[in-house]
């Protein structure tokens, strides 16, 4: 019996190393379902510990909206903050936001008190590490920026990534990942102890729509086992920790423009996407990292 357990443990570890097919973690009979609607251009998906989903309506909305995990209802959560394109709750419990409309990076308490961290940047999307380092993409200048936990601003990478857009971090917080909106790669860097980035390379390659030269990579998030989920013109493309394209989750409709992705729900096992005027969600067999 001891031997059986040994074999079993070997099997489990080796099959994880080999990673799994997309078909193993989608749920039969659980397609995309509309979770919220009536918006113009939803974006900036993020979640809190309880599994509530927050998002913005970047082109027309009033502020930050919340999809309540308990009731399934959506309401305006914080008013008077129009034009946020990237959003995440940091280790201090505040929102951190790319306030694209105001060209600034801000922190916002749950009551709506705003602290301005940086101005004069055409910020698009961001991720905040557990240590409090904030990384954001500036798509038009082809730059990835870092605001350290001591609020120092550093241009962490410039000129290499074709229209950097979506951004996320590995579960060990040692790898930063950025999608190309104007290319076909998802880049990865090592995160040094001081938060700076080294060893950047086009670690992942997105599948291209037929006849196109760019995948239109957009918002990205991280799954608990270290897979990266990246929205693209074709749908949500999934990469395993080795950087291999493991699957593509098709969009809710061919016309959908999917720009942001996040896991939320009580067990963080509902995959949500921002697709224009609507938010869609579907239950999956894997969980989010955030």
């Amino acid at each position: 019996m001891k031997h059986t357990l040994l074999i079993l443990s070997l099997l489990v570890s080796t099959s994880l190393a080999q990673d799994t097919s997309l078909h193993d973690y989608l749920v039969e009979g659980e397609p995309w379902k509309e979770a919220a609607g009536g918006f113009t251009f939803t974006d900036g998906l993020c979640c809190d510990k309880e599994g509530n989903l927050f998002f913005t309506d970047v082109k027309a909305g009033k502020g930050i909206y919340m999809l309540d995990v308990a009731t399934g209802k959506t309401d305006l959560f914080l008013d008077n903050l129009p034009g946020i394109s990237g959003l995440q709750i940091g280790p201090d419990g505040r929102f951190y936001a790319c306030h694209n409309k105001e060209q600034r990076i801000i922190a916002i308490t749950m009551k709506g008190e705003v602290e301005v961290l940086l101005t004069g940047v055409k910020c698009n999307d961001l991720v905040v590490s557990k240590t409090g380092n904030l990384y954001f993409t500036e798509t038009p200048t082809l730059s990835v920026h870092l605001i350290t936990k001591d609020k120092k601003h550093v241009v962490a990478d410039a000129g290499k990534v074709q229209k950097p857009n979506g951004i996320t971090i590995s579960p060990d917080e040692r790898t930063l990942v950025v999608s190309e909106h104007g290319g076909k790669h998802v880049w990865a860097w090592r995160i040094e102890d001081d938060g700076t980035l080294t060893g950047g390379e086009p670690f992942m390659t997105m599948w291209l729509p037929v006849g196109k030269e760019t995948a239109s990579g957009d918002g990205a998030t991280t799954e608990a086992n270290g897979r990266f989920f990246v929205t693209t013109e074709l749908g949500v493309q999934i990469f395993d920790p080795a950087g291999r394209l493991a699957g593509i989750i098709t969009k809710p409709t061919p016309e959908s423009k999917v720009v942001s992705v996040e896991f939320a729900g009580k067990d963080h096992d509902v995959l949500y996407i921002a697709a224009g005027d609507k938010i869609f969600g579907r239950k999956v067999k894997v969980k989010g990292y955030f």
Partner: protein
């Protein structure tokens, strides 16, 4: 017959019926399964009395790669006892080199080289055993991100350039290596197998002899296109050995036995000097390791 198959059937040994059924139900794609047990190492893979032994040296970790910035990797150099500094030696690169160089591994390349070189069955060849890069962090407890798939599964000339521009010149500082591409080979397993093919495909001016075991000619990063490319590209001066097993992987990237059969058919169609051995094994090096002495005899034959 070019290949003397080393087939020795062994009785399967399992402690209990329950574990056997569990093993058969779950194991086929993960590690050595019963169908792999028929492949065992022959005498050419064992240290033989009186055969001069070459020297394996672990090199300082390669940390200053310009092709793969930020990576570090372990690597080893094998120099045969018959090597003479005034005579340029052949070169053979092993992807995932740490496994191939191991004295008790599935391949034991230094032992096989010792035996074959001593018998004059392959030329005096320096072996370069190179691991894929990793991105270590300041914390030794962190598991470094592996760059293996990026380096091995990607198409293009990046890895060939890494070997030609970085590794070979470093080795040439202390060893006389041949410049003749006919004297340069490269070998790998799985993603290392497609990598070996890609290096020679991209740079036949530098590498012409290829060994791929359980090669990943599947769509991990686009490598499934090779059969089509081989058929439509003018023939390159390569000599290619492919091995796979009927029970190799079938997953989201593709089906390994089908992909290798497709590669072999394409090489045949385009008139390549190639060998394809399709055994019964799963995704590991046992069959390739058992064949290696014969493979090398064939590969290096003029």
């Amino acid at each position: 017959m070019l290949f003397r198959f080393l087939v020795r059937f062994r009785l399967m040994k399992f402690p209990a019926r329950v574990s056997l059924s569990l093993f058969l139900a779950l194991a086929p794609v993960t590690f050595a399964a019963p169908q792999d047990d028929q492949y065992v190492l022959g005498p050419d893979s064992q240290v033989q009395k009186g055969v001069p032994q070459g020297k394996v040296t672990q090199m300082p970790a390669w940390t200053n790669s310009k092709i793969y910035p930020g990576t570090t990797r372990d690597w080893w150099v094998y120099v045969p006892a018959q090597y003479k500094p005034e005579q340029p030696a052949n070169v053979m690169v092993f992807c995932d080199g740490g496994g191939f160089v191991k004295a008790d591994g599935q391949f034991r390349v230094p032992v096989v080289f010792d035996n074959l070189i001593a018998k004059g069955e392959m030329p005096v060849t320096i072996g370069l055993f190179i691991n894929p890069g990793v991105f270590p962090t300041s914390n030794p407890k962190d598991k470094p991100r592996s760059n293996r798939s990026f380096e091995y599964d990607s198409l293009g000339d990046l890895h060939a350039r890494f070997l030609i521009e970085e590794i070979l010149p470093e080795v040439a500082k202390n060893h006389k290596l041949t410049d003749d591409p006919e004297g340069r080979g490269i070998c790998g397993n799985s993603s290392g197998g497609i990598c070996a093919f890609t290096v020679a495909w991209e740079r036949p001016d530098a590498f012409r002899r290829v060994i791929s075991h359980i090669g990943s000619f599947t769509n991990i990063r686009g490598g499934h296109v090779y059969p089509a490319l081989v058929r439509k590209t003018d023939k390159k001066p390569l000599k290619v050995f492919l091995q796979d097993g009927k029970n190799d992987l079938d997953n989201q990237f593709g089906n390994w036995p089908l992909a290798n059969q497709d590669m072999a058919a394409a090489l045949k169609f385009a008139g390549y000097d190639y060998q394809f051995v399709l055994g019964e094994g799963t995704h590991n090096g046992k069959h390739g390791g058992a064949l290696l002495p014969d493979t090398l005899r064939w590969l290096w034959k003029k």
